[in-house]
């Protein structure tokens, strides 16, 4: 206190005292708990949306067209529509293989044959039809 310092250019600086101060801020936001709840809901929903696989499978049984050895049989068309969770192709292949195995087990190996898809279009490029 009272110390004086002279700078090179002759300016004199005297330490005259100290004033203590505090900056106070009051805030009240009754809505912020709701915002927190919404943010947590958002994050939970987002994780579910991005990480959980949403898969729809379609199966359609139609009488086999035409005549010949196939006549009188049934064609089972299977399709899937997948959102999120990565590549659906291997799972779909596994599903059709399982389905075919189950059909063979019921009706004998000659009865269940895979039929190539007949010009059906998938509802989405992502869907695979077989």
């Amino acid at each position: 206190m009272g110390e004086t310092l002279t700078l090179e250019d002759g300016t004199e600086i005297t330490f005259t005292g100290v004033k203590e101060f505090a900056a106070l801020q009051f805030s009240h936001d009754p809505g912020q708990v709701w915002v927190l709840g919404a943010a947590i809901a958002l994050l939970t929903g987002l994780l579910g949306l991005l990480l959980l696989r949403r898969e729809r499978f379609f199966a359609r049984a139609l009488p086999a067209p035409g005549s010949g050895p196939d006549a009188g049989g049934t064609v089972l068309a299977v399709a899937s529509l997948t959102r999120g969770g990565g590549d659906p192709a291997p799972r779909f292949a596994a599903l059709t293989a399982e389905l075919q195995a189950a059909l063979e087990a019921r009706a004998g190996p000659a009865a269940a044959r895979p039929v190539p898809p007949s010009g059906g279009t998938a509802p989405e490029p992502k869907g695979t039809e077989a």
Binding site: S27, D29, V35
Partner: protein, 323 residues
């Protein structure tokens, strides 16, 4: 709080070593591209690819052609690149660990440390992808090249002496909020690069001729698009969490959870852009190239948020420690 000068100096030395190792890795990845002569056969395979829209066919074809069209010499250079990159990751992590030990705090208290951390996450993300999908090693030079340039820029322009944390950052939220931000940013970095490469590659594929140049040695467009999407899907919830955690910290430190501080605003803009990318990628008419552009815009916003907002604009996030 005192700073251990020996450890701080070691951290700086490791930083130089990291730049050196990554530079060697870039050279190895360049050699991989240079010696990776593709047989003409695989060009036909790629040219036959309007069906590349179907992930099912592209999935098996693309990484396979990437690996099959590779000479043994090229593959060896790629492996060298990966090994040197992995060594660089160790020294890169060492930069942050020794800084943290030297200052006895988390090593992301200023822009130098933040940017170093982001680049570390980016390199680790690339390394994980390259180890899981060998076809993606071919993008090594396009990831590690920018990383080397960015590290040099960080070392030259953003360097801050090892020092205790500024008072405003002494909170346990630093560990939560900033860690999430570093993770999200580093992952988006790789995602953005994959989208840029996708744009380059898909343009060539659309022309029906990928040529024999560098473009022909990139992974297929569908594979690049998938990498960009998967990394964005991974990074987006982390980034969301970073913004939310930041808002909670802001509430406890500044008395409001959202104040349109420049950093808050731009983080929100980046969030919206990445949300738009994830939507665009599954929306008809936006799928493919337009969506990839959105992802590139996202990366630009992230970089703007780091560089411009920290260094030029005035706000509450002025912890850069750059004068």
């Amino acid at each position: 709080v005192t700073v251990d000068p020996t450890l701080a100096a070691l951290s700086d030395r490791l930083f130089s070593l990291t730049v050196a190792l990554y530079s060697v890795a870039v050279l190895a990845f360049c050699a991989q591209l240079a010696f990776g002569r593709r047989p003409a056969r695989s060009r036909e395979l790629v040219a036959a690819g309007p069906a590349a829209d179907l992930p099912a066919t592209a999935d098996t074809a693309d990484p396979a052609t990437g690996a099959a069209g590779e000479t043994r010499q090229s593959r060896r250079w790629g492996q060298i690149g990966i090994v040197v990159t992995a060594a660089g990751v160790l020294t890169h992590a060492g930069v942050l660990v020794t800084r943290g030990l030297a200052t006895d705090r988390l090593p992301w208290g200023n822009m130098y440390e933040f940017a170093t951390g982001v680049l570390l996450v980016g390199v680790v993300a690339y390394l994980v992808l390259a180890l899981r999908h060998p076809g993606l090693r071919h993008i090594g030079v396009f990831v590690m090249g920018p990383v080397v340039l960015a590290l040099i820029a960080v070392g030259l322009r953003l360097y801050a002496e090892a020092a205790p944390l500024v008072a405003a950052l002494r909170s346990s939220w630093l560990a939560i909020h900033v860690t999430a931000a570093i993770l999200g940013f580093g992952i988006f970095f790789v995602s953005g690069i994959a989208s840029i490469l996708y744009l380059v590659r898909s343009r060539a594929e659309k022309r029906g001729d990928v040529g024999t140049g560098v473009v022909s040695r990139l992974p297929g467009a569908a594979a690049l698009d998938r990498v960009a999407h998967r990394t964005a899907v991974f990074g987006f919830p982390i980034w969301t969490f970073a913004v939310i955690a930041g808002a909670i910290w802001a509430e406890s430190a500044w008395g409001r959870f959202w104040g349109w501080d420049p950093k808050e605003t731009w983080s929100f803009i980046a969030w919206v852009v990445y949300a738009a990318y994830l939507h665009a990628r599954t929306t008809a008419g936006w799928r493919g190239r337009p969506a990839a552009w959105v992802n590139v815009v996202g990366l630009v916003v992230m970089l703007f948020n780091l560089l411009y907002v920290n260094m030029v604009s005035t706000g509450l996030h002025s912890y850069a420690g750059v004068n």
